[in-house]
């Protein structure tokens, strides 16, 4: 039992991760319970999805899993699968735009968030990151960048760069999956159409397959840093790399397939609804 608790303790305690998770969870819960009292409450499934996503993000960053991620390539790839795909995907299924807006205290919203949002560089940066061309390039580009052997080497040696790597993967994924899964009605301002979203999800698959296949099929060890710093347990470097390649290749592509299916269903539902004369559009 004590050893079980031992594994749940952070390997390298990060106040920033704990603060992020507490805030993201707390504000969402507050917003969700406030939404319950309105005419359009948010259901239990979005709540469960958001919280599950947040929980797995916390677990891969602040438990012994983090130690394994630093000392085994394929577990590192698993960690990034959670940070870049699975965790943020589940969180964005929780309708966070609506719920978090309800959850943030009104005073804070008026005093800090609204002025920040009016600040041109912030708006420009957001517009850039949510651009239909930039977003997928950045999403795949970050996977590619942190897996460049030289970059990966220093990211695994330096605690600061390691944190930067994980945060960049997480933040970019939250933005990317928000762009893809944004549940606002079809004619809401600045919302990307379903067709474009499906194209994006399809286009990010081949590069991820290439990155994964490059690792899985390589005949030499591409990431010597795990030899230098030592692996979590004895395993051949090539076997480690092959599993890592498969983790990058298959589940990541599956996420796109699931995303497309979800969007197609929403698209069909919305087409049926808008066909009715009573359907309200904003």
């Amino acid at each position: 039992m004590t050893s079980f608790v031992h594994y749940l303790l952070p390997w390298e305690f990060s106040p920033l991760v704990v603060l992020f998770c507490l805030l993201a969870g707390g504000v969402y819960l507050r917003g969700w319970s406030r939404c319950r009292r309105t005419a359009q409450p948010v259901g239990y499934w979005p709540l469960a999805s958001y919280m599950t996503g947040l929980l797995i993000v916390y677990l891969v960053m602040q438990t012994r899993f983090d130690y394994l991620s630093q000392h085994m390539l394929w577990i590192h790839r698993l960690q990034h699968l959670v940070l870049h795909h699975l965790g943020p995907f589940l969180m964005m299924l929780g309708n966070p735009g609506k719920v978090l807006a309800q959850g943030v205290p009104a005073g804070f919203q008026a005093a800090v968030l609204a002025p920040l949002w009016r600040f041109p560089p912030v708006r420009a940066l957001y517009a850039l990151l949510q651009n239909a061309v930039v977003a997928p390039l950045l999403f795949v580009g970050l996977i590619w960048f942190w897996l460049l052997p030289d970059v990966h080497f220093t990211a695994m040696l330096s605690a600061g760069r390691y944190q930067l790597m994980n945060w960049s993967m997480l933040i970019d994924a939250l933005l990317f999956w928000w762009l893809i899964l944004d549940p606002r009605p079809r004619h809401a301002a600045r919302r990307l159409g379903y067709g474009a979203r499906i194209v994006i999800l399809t286009l990010i698959v081949p590069p991820q397959i290439l990155i994964g296949a490059h690792m899985a099929l390589a005949k030499v060890s591409l990431y010597p840093v795990y030899n230098v710093c030592g692996r979590a347990w004895p395993i051949s470097p090539l076997v480690d790399q092959q599993i890592a390649g498969l983790v990058t290749w298959i589940p990541a592509s599956m996420m796109s397939v699931i995303g497309v299916l979800l969007l197609v269903r929403r698209w069909m539902n919305e087409s049926q609804n808008t066909a009715l004369p009573a359907a309200g559009l904003s």
């Binding site: 390298e12 630093q70 420009a124 040696l157 030899n227 030592g230 979590a232």
Partner: protein, 196 residues
């Protein structure tokens, strides 16, 4: 409406990112880890059982290596290669220190450490510590180690990193040598570090 201004800001952001990525080529033969890893800090004990701290070795270029004395081949080979590298420095060898940290304190008592370091000459100091002290130090330099399952005779293998972390005379992390780096290459960089 403010679209052109948005684009200007976007270009500015991209330019700053690009500027941050530009780097000049490294003058070192080994991996340059300046600024990547924290300065040398530890509390361990030596072969006479005395407590030793990192600041005891200020003024010397420190080569830090993790291993265990029962290690059949890699540890002695690496230590021999490091000793050979320091010998190539001539008189300047006196300003270097090879710290061999055993991650197997159960078998490597101070007496064992003392005998082991004597086999490698005066530049090598063998250290070890409590499991908590060793965990602290290995976590600091992001290296792993693990004790294998004992066989019928109670013998077991220990997995450890192959990294040699090199610190300058102020204790700042500067270079990283790996198992494949030869004594000549290490000596060249040590000389540059001592001169610089």
């Amino acid at each position: 409406m403010t679209r052109p201004r948005h684009n200007l800001w976007a270009v500015a952001v991209l330019l700053m990112l690009a500027a941050g990525c530009a780097r000049s080529p490294s003058p070192w033969g080994l991996h340059d880890i300046s600024g990547l890893m924290p300065p040398l800090v530890f509390t361990l004990h030596d072969g006479s059982g005395h407590i030793r701290h990192a600041y005891d070795f200020r003024g010397e270029v420190v080569l830090l290596y993790f291993g265990y004395t029962h290690c059949p081949d890699i540890c002695p080979t690496t230590l021999a290669s490091l000793v050979s590298a320091t010998r190539r420095l001539g008189a300047a060898a006196d300003r270097t220190r090879i710290l061999f940290v055993s991650v197997d304190p159960a078998r490597d008592s101070p007496a064992v450490l003392q005998r082991y370091q004597q086999a490698f000459g005066p530049r090598v100091t063998a250290l070890s510590g409590t499991p908590a002290q060793l965990r602290e130090l290995t976590r600091r330099y992001r290296v792993s180690y693990g004790l294998g399952k004992p066989d019928a005779d109670g013998r077991y293998e220990v997995s450890h990193s192959s990294a040699v972390f090199i610190f300058d005379r102020d204790g700042a992390a500067r270079l990283l040598a790996t198992g494949t780096d030869g004594a000549g290459k290490i000596a060249t960089d040590l000389k540059r570090l001592l001169d610089g």
